[in-house]
Amino acid sequence: MTTRLASGAVGLGDRVILAATIALAIVMVLPMLWAVGLSMKSNAELLVDTNSVLKAPWTLRNYYDILIGSGVFRWLLNSIIVSVGMSLGVLALSSLAGYGFARLEFPGRNVIFVLVLFGLAIPEQAVILVRHQLFSDLNLHNTYAGLMLPGMSAPFGVFLMTQYFKAIPTEVDEAAMLDNASRFKIFWRVLLPMTLPAQATLGIFTFLHAWNDYWWPLVSGTNEQMYTLTVGIASTQMNFAESAGLGYLMAQAVFAGLPILIVYMFFQKYIVRAVSGAAT
């Protein structure tokens, strides 16, 4: 929303706002630039003075070391499997349940729905210790299922999908029923495709939540092979007797952050649309 002066030129106020925003953007990017800079210096040089980031020589040695020996690739794979898996699971379960609550009658439906809504207020930390014991008894730790299931019990997705299904006019159902379609077919062929925006929103939210999750993977995926990216990167940060070197650590962080940033850059439009969709 720009204010146009009588002359039609863009106002001074706008210039100032733009400059301020650009300055803020630079501040936003600085920590990432610093990390990239550190990652391109040898550990020995950084030991003496980190200002050496600004002076030559720079090196890709840390990246090479990561390629040959770091666990970051396995961590990345685990994170992808868990995040994608959890997102698909949430989409499937929430869509089914959302359709059920929005369109179908069954005994106690309304009461159950209200109880599900209450679950929105339950924070993960209030149940995590009992969940941990439960999963221990069921031998679910250090499995992908163990990392994915807790996220699939959250009611947010069901709430979102129920609202979305409710917003679709019932004429659509009725038109399909004229063709003698079964309930499931109506759901699968007709209504579900209409919920794509909600699916995108829910999918992206769930993916990011799973990608960022720290506490649960920390205590459930304790075997090094099951580390997600968050846990793996965190394991390099506690610094008693740590011998990996600052440049190496930063290169590892860059390695860990780059894939998701690239994905973000390519899917920016859809992500933005999905997130904005949540506001409406």
């Binding site: 770091s70 014991q133 205590v219 459930s220 090094e224 007797a241 011998s243 990996a244």
Partner: protein, 435 residues
């Protein structure tokens, strides 16, 4: 529909995937850092330096010599006990894990560790060859629960070049204080002559170091602060004295500030101060540093135990051991585990090149150990060193609480009296509420 079901089943199958352990594979979990970049698959133990390097090459060499066994190494952030607790609770712990001697009883008393005595002897490791301190620390109720690999102690690592500058060297040996007053005096003298702080300390994000220094100085004053293993007594003049001394050092800028462990270690290497308060595990690294040219520590490194500032010559000590969490294992795995333990036991000398004190009497008395640089200066710790009483439980959480309160007092966030009162209250609360 069929495709849908097939996909569903496929997903469930993938999801229940976890980590599979082959029947001849053992999982070895340890702290000591990661150094894959430098040491990767190297097996030349004799050339390795530092805890990470030596431990990595040792295990690599074992793997090379035992191709029928697969060893999966899992380095964890120190001390790794939160993770171990989660693993033990989930029933999926590693096969061998490094553990401090002071923590063994916590797990052993909950039946989480397996006794090792019988199989160790069968593999050729004689527990009677351990040093007395090590044997005592791993023996619980007449059984052996760990293979000790070292004893360690907090030490004074000294930059002799600065000490010389400050006039604190005599006959090639550093002049050390013999009382708290002398400590302050020498520290001031040092600062005046060199412009650098006397101490280099990790004061930020640190808890263990504070407690260990405190325990040492309390032992020197013959204070039995755990006379009752379920109650700590910290509100006494002796304890207050120690905190006030450290506080005074902090106030007068006689120590580096705001450094965490990594920064303090790097700082000492880069010449930040005169005395770095850290333990035996850095001797190897600092000695290697002192052989480089044109560095602050070049030809100027010495290490001494905590000087006797009070009535008794004593140092707090702890140590490391390999323990075996309780779990069902294949005979191949058990065989592999004890083969590895025997290998580690046989190579305790190599491990002691880090600076840690060996856990075997034979190694301590050996010529090649005593020929290692600086070992003669710290040799007396074998007799002056003592751990906390073995029936004090949860020593690590206790150490964290005491360290946190000490940090608050020394850095001026809290009065010494308040810190000691809170530390005592919190530790006793913890110990009282143990089931």
């Amino acid at each position: 529909m069929r495709r849908l079901l097939a996909t569903l089943l496929g997903c469930v199958a993938l999801a229940s995937c976890g980590v599979h352990q082959a029947p001849n594979e053992i999982v070895v979990q340890r702290f000591f850092g990661t150094c894959k970049a430098e040491y990767g698959n190297r097996t030349d133990v004799e050339n390795a330096e530092g805890e990470c390097g030596i431990m990595t090459t040792l295990i690599n060499e074992f793997s090379a010599q035992n191709p029928d066994v697969k060893v999966r190494v899992s380095p964890v952030a120190w001390p790794g006990y939160n993770q171990l607790a989660a693993q033990l609770a989930s029933g999926d712990p590693p096969d061998l894990v490094t553990m401090h001697l002071s923590a063994i009883s916590d797990y052993q008393s909950r039946k989480l560790l397996e006794p090792l005595g019988k199989d160790l002897r069968a593999a050729g490791v004689d527990p009677n060859g351990f040093t007395a301190a090590s044997l005592a620390s791993v023996s619980k109720q007449g059984e052996i629960y760990g293979l000790p690999i070292d004893n360690w102690a907090p030490l004074w690592h000294i930059n002799m070049n600065y000490f010389r500058q400050a006039g604190l060297v005599k006959d090639g040996k550093p002049i050390l204080p013999r009382s708290p007053e002398e400590l302050l005096a020498q520290a001031r003298q040092f600062k005046q002559a060199t412009g650098k702080p006397y101490f280099v300390q990790a004061l930020a994000n640190e808890r263990a170091a504070y407690s260990r220094n405190l325990y040492t100085l309390l032992m020197q004053q013959n204070v039995d602060f755990f006379a009752d293993p379920q109650r700590v007594q910290l509100q006494s003049p002796e304890v207050k004295q120690v905190l006030e001394m450290f506080r005074q050092i902090y106030v007068e800028d006689l120590t580096t500030k705001n450094q965490d462990y990594a920064a303090a270690t790097n700082g000492f290497i880069n010449g930040a101060g005169g005395v770095y308060l850290v333990g035996t595990w850095m001797i190897g690294d600092f000695d290697a540093e002192s052989r480089k040219l044109d560095r602050p520590l070049s030809s100027g490194y010495a290490v001494m135990p905590w000087p006797q500032l009070y009535g008794r010559d004593a140092t707090f000590i702890d140590g490391h051991a390999w323990v075996m969490p309780a779990k069902d294992r294949t005979p191949q795995q058990r065989d592999a585990i004890f083969r590895l333990l025997k290998f580690v036991a046989d190579n305790d000398f190599e491990w002691s090149r880090t600076g840690h004190l060996p856990a075997y009497q034979a190694v301590i008395e050996s010529e090649r150990f005593n020929a290692l640089p600086h070992r003669s200066e710290i040799a007396k710790i074998s007799s002056t060193g003592a751990p906390l009483p073995s029936d004090v439980q949860r020593q690590f959480p206790v150490q964290d609480i005491i360290g946190e309160e000490m940090a608050a007092a020394i850095t001026g966030h809290k009065s010494v009296d308040a810190a000691l009162a809170d530390a005592e209250h919190r530790v006793n609360d913890l110990l009282f509420h143990l089931l």
